[in-house]
Symmetry: C2
Amino acid sequence: LREVLDAAALVFYERGYESASIQDIAESLGMLKGSLYYYIESKEDLLFHILEDAHDQARENIARAKAVEGDALQRIRAFVTAHLVFNASNIIRMGIAFHDLRSLSEDRRRLIIEARDEYDEFLRKLIRDGQKEGIICPDIDPRLAGFATFGMTNWIYQWYQPGGKTAAKSIANEFADIIVAGLACDRATHVPGHRRRFAALPGEAER
Amino acid sequence: LREVLDAAALVFYERGYESASIQDIAESLGMLKGSLYYYIESKEDLLFHILEDAHDQARENIARAKAVEGDALQRIRAFVTAHLVFNASNIIRMGIAFHDLRSLSEDRRRLIIEARDEYDEFLRKLIRDGQKEGIICPDIDPRLAGFATFGMTNWIYQWYQPGGKTAAKSIANEFADIIVAGLACDRATHVPGHRRRFAALPGEAER
């Protein structure tokens, strides 16, 4: 099944899920269409299993961050790094997850969204933990900071070239540096609104 | 033409560019298919003009940042804020730009990519300016920091709900706070590698 899912993912990625046919996938596997139906009942089955599988594997990034002995910023660094390296190793499946989720039936879409929400919530919880520890700025909205972090790291599916000049690990470290520095704050010197100090235009300091 | 482009953008966004037909767009306008051909010659013409138009308008964000009297971080704040508010007001067109660029003919795709590169380069230049001014960490790779910033801000097309509980301006300020804090550094106290201080796992401090 693994081989079938990988082949289907590549076909969906290259032609778009809506345009791709079961016939295309069978051909890319050198298989008869009938043999493919031994594994699945519909094109949507393939899409669902690809996404389910990706989310199952992504849970290891949570386990890795949990295993870090350190403060919340250290766990955030570990999570961001693991998440980025995971994305870089799964560009095709990530592309499908971001473009074609809407093509799933409602029930299945709900299952994938639940898995994704659980994953996203793990990061938001780390941000709240860091605020309690007094090392992440209390002015930060954990929900928005979570979206910011996932945006930065998920977006690589648009530009990252596997095997290109910049290794995934270097990108992961650079992004983790930006996120850690972007969230960090010292309880001892915190003054509400201090991060808005560079606001330049009239009205820009408003929330 | 504006009305036609807006209607086409909505149809592409909802059905996917590949699945949508000229007939669908004509129907959404209450027009005959033949009348639509008065404006354009092909479905791809519509896609191209939608993307061209979006990039033309996005240039105002550059003008806005250039008009800021201040240092590079202030101009970065202004640019990030303007870019995010622009994206939030153009969720449909941004979604099409991110999903369907590849459906353009090669010549036209090149034109759009050139416009996009020019836009991206403006931010990279601001980051390099800030490094020269001694207010952005010299350890930062301007190319990767640019991708990080655009990832964070472009990603909102995946989750932002126009008219939802969080105003675009609030998101823009929150993200600008994270980016400014994430890039900032003081030349007087800079020590190479200091941002990697939270690295937790063996090997994680490597570049």
